[in-house]
């Protein structure tokens, strides 16, 4: 598929608020990106018209009840059939921040046995108990299952910001070790928080900003095409968005967030 033909759908509802910058970043990559209200996609049945689906960051419906859960229920009630077909066809489905929370609530991530009817994990309140906006270091630990980080060398460290109050990735305590093993088995771990020296954060604040189990920042589905992450690639897309670009003289053209979004686009180019 040619890049200029690729259509990215950025879904939103009331309270979604990272849609604009996500669309701008995708457009910079030479693809078409549209921000559309979930109601309209449901009404028009237009999901199959797109090649990539993004659930962007924000506070969907105020994140009342639990982060992402109301939006997830809306999708489950009215969009599930189209969405499952979209996933099964191998299209990329990306959840950033609130979008990651939604994918977990929807049972698509980790999705050990396909979509689970109930959440198998949680993005719980940060261990610090407050909302945090800060840049973090992440290691690409995926062995190749997630097609979107393939251009990032394994073990490479990238930087992106997080901004959330509920990003602490947790499994049910009694299943913790077993589920982690399954993540490894199916190569579903993608990004983990690390310290400045490149070693894993081991839960140490602020390198692991939320107290996530096993320093998990992003995971993918067993098939690799559903990917959720707490950090914001769209806020680390341009060099001038970096927190310390003034130490480099002039800002570099791009930041590390571009690697992730470009990986998605390249996958569609290859696959479809």
């Amino acid at each position: 598929m040619r890049r200029s033909e690729i259509r990215v759908l950025i879904l939103r509802v009331g309270g979604t608020n990272c849609d604009r910058e996500t669309a701008l970043a995708f457009r910079d990559l030479g693809v078409e990106a549209e921000v559309v209200h979930t109601h309209r996609v449901i009404r028009e049945g237009s999901l199959p018209d797109y090649d990539v689906l993004v659930f962007p960051g924000g506070f969907s419906y105020g994140d009342y009840v639990r982060s992402g859960v109301i939006w997830a229920k809306l999708v489950e009630a009215y969009l599930l059939e189209d969405l499952m077909r979209f996933v099964e066809e191998g299209h990329p489905v990306i959840g950033i921040c609130n979008g990651f929370q939604l994918l977990v609530e929807l049972g698509l991530l980790p999705g050990f046995e396909g979509r689970s009817p109930y959440p198998e994990a949680a993005l719980a309140t940060n261990a610090s108990n407050v909302y945090e906006c800060r840049w973090v270091r992440l290691k690409n630990v995926n062995r190749g299952n997630c097609p979107f980080t393939r251009s990032i060398p394994r073990e490479a460290i990238i930087r992106m910001p997080v901004a959330h109050g509920e990003g602490r990735f947790l499994f049910p305590r009694e299943w913790e070790e077993e589920y982690l093993e399954r993540l490894y088995e199916k190569d579903q771990l993608v990004l983990r928080y690390v310290k400045p020296d490149g070693s894993f954060a081991e839960g140490e604040y602020p390198h692991n900003p939320n107290g996530s189990f096993h320093d998990i920042a992003g995971i993918c589905s067993p098939e690799g095409n559903v990917f959720g992450l707490m950090p914001h690639p769209e806020r680390a897309y341009y060099g001038w968005q970096l927190p310390d670009w003034t130490r480099m003289g002039r800002p570099p053209e791009y930041g590390d967030g571009r690697l992730i979004l470009e990986g998605i686009v390249e996958y569609v180019e290859r696959r479809f």
Binding site: G14, C18, F59, C133, Y237
Partner: protein, 790 residues
């Protein structure tokens, strides 16, 4: 009352009539009390005369309308009134001292000032930048979370109210010391720590939920805020200048959109102009509104869509006074009248009386004027965004405000009466406080003093607060409030509003409440200088200013005397710096059983940077670079953090030489444009020593400074050199390769080379006799700075 002056009218809903005819002063006051009005006796008399002239009774809706419109909060009576001072009569503070700066400078880049909900300046010829800063002190004192959140929500609506898309928020907060003893609090007063955590959470919640980055601010602690906290909320937006629709015609529909109307926020404006008492919690709780940021997020989307499609002819937010102000003010502005049916307003509680619907300040509501031909499409846009919108009436040729409820007329007011309240006349007199300059020995260990200063609450890192605000959402933040790995304190935020332009905006602020205890004039002057120099330090120029006064009861001549003095400084200093005021807001009557609030003037500065890639940050960049100190240091430590640490207030308040300051600012801008500046930091609280330490630990590099090289107006002791807070100064890092060019650019400005950047992670100051007077490791400095508000 001699006879029953308030009677219920025979209608199927609650409506009261008030017979004002022949009412004496005492009766007028009783009526005022019974209806919960904030009007003065003189104003009540004017109303009595008006209705006597009409020969009919007034309705409660009518009296409430007048009460709202004439309130200090809505009409700014003090700033528009006559003030007698020992030096003569000031005919309107706003006109004489604030607006006049722009009227005399006549900047062609000011698009709309002091006219609309927000000031608008030109950005790139095509777009305008709208900016507004509000106060929300009283509500935040009662309900810190709700008060602060709705303060943010309110100022965001001010930006929407000029058709602009909000791209950034600011917040400046003042609290009593966090270690205030509970025993020292009067009954009913909340502890500073409770207020602090609630206010911070409220601001973060609203901005984060709406997806608007909070990029600049300050937190200030002082005993004078124990009884009266101060909450300033600001918002900045962008709009295409040709989408600034202000052309309402008779027949245009009045559309109320957003949240439902409830009993929250009744008499908010009256409460805003009342003193806080033990009973405020109980009496005024309904005056505080309830926040729902997601409602406003949806409303924002709908309004921007309506703007882009050009469907509306006018817009305003519902703030103080609710519908009564919004409808009345828009009708008045366009020389029209209005007819409104209150029965169709969507309610949270169906038992609301007409007057409550009319003046409720429930949040997340906007008022739009839509020409009939666009009405269907506009309503469709609201529906698509899940926003409730209702046509509640229309604008009319007849310049009257006619309000109906279930087809019964409940108010019929002449707009002329509404917008010509009796002009207030107040007396002002400022007497200099009796103060003296302290005499004390220089502390033997100045390193220890520096560490104590870094951990003093007004200087210490606010990271634990700043990180709870999303400052990067929308992806426009180029220079963040906290810099790099060590989260150093940048002087201003830089945003890149447009995807296809390198042009940026620079946002900064200045505030020095402690100086005001010595002289409000120099407090105001210093705040302006600080706001502008913060802006210039990162590369900003063409600066527009906003003034936000928080003061005590203006009916007391001493309070007003200080206010007049501060306002005069605004005119004189801003004129000399060439920085016009484009918007502002005052909050008066900040009094509690502990006395008046510490008089506080916040100056917000909005600058432009032609290319964001030239923006400068605070962190030192390279060992071996040279350090220059721009500006002159004076023995001015009155009101300084150093004196406070030593237990003094002092007398020698820092002054501003605006002519010299302007020259320094211009040259520094030139040096930045020529890429000669590696890092830059303004000198403020804690002076040279604190600024140098912050630059060092922000960059993870050490430095050494020779105090003997500092340019002074008269010889000074080492401690005074280290901690003087003289205005208009910067510490600048310059690469040795650029030193001669930098010095050439600076020629004529008072400056000197004072030190250099070290690889070794230590900060060293050598005293005037060549002796090492400060020697501290970066980790100790950083730890001191971070530990207080962790």
């Amino acid at each position: 009352m001699k006879r029953e002056r308030i009677t219920r009218r025979e209608v199927p809903f609650p409506l009261y009539e008030v017979d004002l005819a022949g009412a004496g002063d005492e009766e007028l006051l009783e009526i005022k009390e019974a209806l919960g009005l904030g009007l003065s006796l003189e104003e009540m008399r004017a109303l009595r005369d008006h209705f006597e002239g009409l020969g009919r009774r007034a309705t409660d809706v009518e009296l409430q309308t007048v009460d709202q419109t004439w309130s200090e909060h809505c009409f700014h009576k003090t700033f528009k009134g006559l003030i007698e001072t020992p030096e003569g009569v000031v005919d309107g503070l706003l006109k004489t001292y604030i607006r006049r700066v722009a009227e005399e400078l006549r900047p062609d880049w000011c698009f709309s000032i002091f006219e609309d909900n927000a000031g608008i300046v030109d950005f790139d010829g095509v777009h305008g930048i709208a900016i507004k800063v509000e106060t929300h002190n009283h509500p935040s004192a009662i309900d810190p979370f709700g008060g602060a959140a709705t303060g943010t929500g309110g100022v965001i609506r001010d930006i929407l109210g000029v058709w602009a898309d909000p791209i950034a928020c600011t917040d400046v907060l003042c609290f009593g010391p966090l270690d205030t003893r509970f025993e020292d609090l009067p009954p009913g007063m909340k502890h500073p720590r409770f207020l602090y955590s609630g206010v911070v959470a409220g601001i973060g919640s609203y901005g984060n939920n709406m997806g608007i980055p909070t990029v600049n601010g300050a937190i200030y602690f002082d005993e004078g805020y124990i009884g009266n906290i101060v909450v300033y909320c600001g918002c900045i937006g962008i709009l295409p200048k040709d989408r600034y629709f202000r052309d309402v015609k008779a027949g245009d529909a009045i559309v109320l959109a957003g949240g439902r109307t409830g009993r929250d926020g009744i008499h908010g404006v009256t409460f805003a102009s009342a003193e806080l008492t033990e009973e405020s919690e109980e009496v005024s709780r309904p005056a505080v509104q309830i926040p729902n940021p997601i409602e406003e997020e949806k409303l924002k989307r709908a309004i921007i869509q309506i703007r882009d499609e050009g469907l509306g002819s006018g817009i305003t937010d519902l703030g103080g006074g609710g519908l009564s102000s919004a409808v009345g003010e828009t009708a008045h502005r366009y020389g029209l009248g209005a007819e409104v049916e209150l029965g169709v307003v969507p309610l949270k509680d169906p038992t609301l009386a007409p007057w409550e619907i009319w003046i409720s300040e429930s949040q997340e509501r906007m008022l739009l004027a839509i020409p009939p031909k666009n009405l269907d499409r506009a309503m469709e846009v609201f529906e698509e965004e899940d926003v409730e919108a209702t046509v509640i009436g229309q604008y009319t040729k007849r310049r009257r405000l006619r309000i109906f409820y279930a087809a019964h007329i409940v108010a019929d007011l002449d707009l002329g009466l509404l917008f010509t309240p009796p002009r207030v006349r107040r007396r002002a007199e400022w007497r200099p406080p009796r103060l003296q300059e302290p005499r004390f020995e220089m502390p033997p260990d100045l390193t220890e003093t520096l560490l104590s200063l870094l951990s003093s609450p007004n200087i210490a890192s606010k990271e634990s607060v700043v990180r709870t605000y999303d400052h990067e959402v929308q992806g426009r933040t180029v220079i963040k409030p906290l810099q790099g790995e060590y989260s150093g304190p940048n002087d201003a935020a830089v945003l890149k509003p447009l995807p296809d332009s390198w042009r940026g905006i620079v946002v900064s602020c200045g505030m020095n409440p402690r100086y005001g205890k010595i002289d409000p004039y120099w407090m105001a002057a210093s705040a302006i200088d600080e706001a502008v120099r913060n802006n210039v330090a990162v590369g900003g120029r063409r600066v527009a200013l906003l003034d936000n006064f928080t003061w005590g009861n203006p009916e007391r001549p001493d309070r007003l005397g200080g206010l007049v003095r501060a306002a005069r400084a605004c005119y004189e200093i801003a004129s000399a710096l060439g920085t016009p005021f484009v918007s502002g807001k005052d909050s008066l009557y900040n009094e509690s059983p502990l006395g008046p609030v510490t008089p506080t003037l916040l100056i917000t500065a909005l600058g432009i940077i032609p290319d964001i890639r030239r923006a400068v940050t605070v962190d030192l960049k390279r060992p071996g670079d040279l350090l220059y100190l721009l500006g002159e240091t004076h023995p001015e430590l009155g009101g300084s953090e150093y004196y406070r640490l030593m237990g003094f207030l002092g007398l020698s308040v820092p002054k501003v030489d605006a002519v010299k300051a302007r020259e320094t600012f211009t040259r520094l801008t030139e040096a930045i444009d020529r890429d000669l500046v590696e890092a830059c930091h303004d000198l403020s609280e804690g002076g040279l020593a604190v600024a140098a330490s912050e630059m060092a630990f922000s960059g993870g590099l050490g430095l050494e400074v020779d105090l003997g090289a500092v340019r002074v107006s008269s010889p000074m002791r080492d401690d005074l050199l280290l901690f003087s807070e003289s205005n208009s100064r910067f510490l600048v890092e310059v690469s040795p390769d650029n030193a001669s060019e930098f010095e050439r650019v600076m020629e004529g400005v008072i400056f000197s080379r004072v030190g250099r950047v070290l690889e070794e992670r230590r900060v060293r100051f050598y005293g005037s006799a060549g002796r090492l007077v400060v020697d501290a490791s970066l980790s100790d400095l950083l730890e001191a700075w971070r530990s207080t508000l962790r």
